[in-house]
Amino acid sequence: MKNNIRVERAIKDMTQADLAEAVSVSRQTINTIESNKYVPSTVLALKIAKVFNKPLEEIFMLEDTD
């Protein structure tokens, strides 16, 4: 699964720490999600989408290998 959290963060001018605080996880978690090393749970994915005020599919996309 890919995501464009980094882009969305840049649009909203948020740091990883800001986003981490908004969804109550550690900075490490946001960092590993951004670099596609960790797939978040549905709850966390929905929380992140809510912060950016966008539907889930605009932030997280399936890859061909999924």
Partner: protein, 144 residues
């Protein structure tokens, strides 16, 4: 996902304290000529006899310490930490059974095998868990 049944964060320090405390107690006891009930030929003193108490002060103190360290919450307990914790537990069980099976085949010293079994899963779990978290912190530092 929130994992229940974890000790509070400060238990980690209490756990290390117990592990460290068991070292001088062990050395002192051995110097006094005490043997552990797991040693090959214990003097039979029954439950709560000298040897049994020595066993409680050393082996059990260390296990309890390791247990507290292994199952204390992190400062910020999030879903990735839970994930790493479960993954490390899986590895610890794998390694433990590998060691157990190999020692069952090649070693006849059952009391020490039991002792080995007491440490291996917890120690391996702690090392693996802390190592993954350390690696995550390193990659965060590299990006910053």
């Amino acid at each position: 996902m929130r994992l229940k049944y974890l000790f509070p964060y400060w238990c980690r320090f209490l756990g290390w304290g117990l592990v460290i405390l068991h070292v001088p107690l062990s050395i002192l006891g051995r110097a006094q000529g005490m043997t552990n009930i797991m040693d090959p030929q214990p003097h039979d003193q029954g439950i709560f006899g000298g040897e049994h108490l020595f066993f409680i002060c050393t082996t059990l103190l260390m296990s309890a310490g390791l247990f507290l360290v292994a199952f204390a919450k992190e400062k910020l307990e999030d879903e990735q930490i839970s994930h790493i914790r479960l993954d490390s537990l899986r590895w610890a069980i794998f390694i433990n059974y590998l060691v157990l099976i190999i020692s069952l085949i090649f070693i006849e010293d059952v009391p020490h095998m039991l002792e080995l079994n007491l440490w291996v899963p917890l120690i391996f779990f702690i090392i693996r868990f802390r190592w993954v978290i350390w690696r995550l912190n390193q990659s965060l530092k590299r990006e910053a």
